[in-house]
Symmetry: C2
Subunit: 238 residues, 2 copies
Amino acid sequence: MPEIRKGEDLVERIVAAVRKAGLRFEEGDIVVVAQKIVSKAEGAVVRLATVNPSSKAQALAEQLKKDARVVELVLKESRRILRQDRVLIVETHHGFVCANAGIDHSNVPGRDVVTLLPRNPDRSAEALAAGLRKKTGKRIPVIISDTFGRPWRLGLTNVAIGAAGLPVLLDLRGTRDREGKPLAATILAVADELAASAGLLMGKSEGIPVVVIRGYRYRPASEKAAQIIRPALEDLFR
Amino acid sequence: MPEIRKGEDLVERIVAAVRKAGLRFEEGDIVVVAQKIVSKAEGAVVRLATVNPSSKAQALAEQLKKDARVVELVLKESRRILRQDRVLIVETHHGFVCANAGIDHSNVPGRDVVTLLPRNPDRSAEALAAGLRKKTGKRIPVIISDTFGRPWRLGLTNVAIGAAGLPVLLDLRGTRDREGKPLAATILAVADELAASAGLLMGKSEGIPVVVIRGYRYRPASEKAAQIIRPALEDLFR
């Protein structure tokens, strides 16, 4: 895909890239789009030179040895700080718990430019799915993915921060296992597993911000990635 | 796959199942095996009737309204308890942080039988990879997967609890993004993403405990899933 700029028609770009790859959308395909290009198309991009850090951000930046302008943006994008150490683990206004509020400067043109997470990634996914429907005549669910860290295990994995058109949590409670015993606490976060599988192909520096998943069987649904966020009150680690 | 019993030759079973599916192993394939059948083959199965709960387990079980025999097993399999609530979140002797020490009674024949995690899942993966090498003449990496919950997000995802023959963490630090800027904190937990993609096909009650991944490019490596465990001292949430 070429570099995405603010205001660009992502649906157009995705369809063109799929065509260029010699593919054709089929009913049942799922499109996973990297957060980065959604943020760029939506203009969720900030030049650090335009950021005026508050005294709170300056103090925190000094303590953590970070860029005060980035810290200012992290605070602005966050509802609260969960941990402050080498990284700031925050709860964003969306409710995502992640490092630095998802603010990132890789794969953004210019030295001092960062992307923020899309304002409403579920709405972005819905808009993309609606656009793909219009353009292809097919119902193509969309997942917007980002790489998040996690406690207890090293490394980042891709998760779904936005979704439209498919179940995000597959509730197997009430179904029975092979032995006929009811399955207890079995809800699979399939949208995250779909994002993770797409992540294997996206890499990070390879410029593959869109992956088409074909052959995964699902029942169309109008669920949102926001449903994957564990309510803070039920969360034993928040 | 037929029901797996203690002492069964899993390599034999996997090769037979792949052949039955009309496939043939190719160099570069990766085999993901569900923990459950590894535990069964290794005899990591416990009849609850044989468990004699300690007074500590009994007290905890009463408090949490759980089966004291299961609590006894969870305590025995654990190094420490991180949270005790509706579930016991523990650190197992392997170092995994998960609910109920990975003890599970779904898809186990009999009402009062549970599986424990394999004693050493990395060694189990190595043995399977060695067996597949011998039987097929091909170098087939093996991942042993299990479904773990996580803080902040609902639902379980499949992660790698054992691995042999492939990189588990893909360290992109030092590489550069499309703009030529060095990537900062980018280590991808690819073994977990491979386990997650296999998980999409395994479901839970479908009796698909083995998935072959084809077409994922990797450099053979002798890494272990234990390397994915975040050292407790660096862990902000332990």
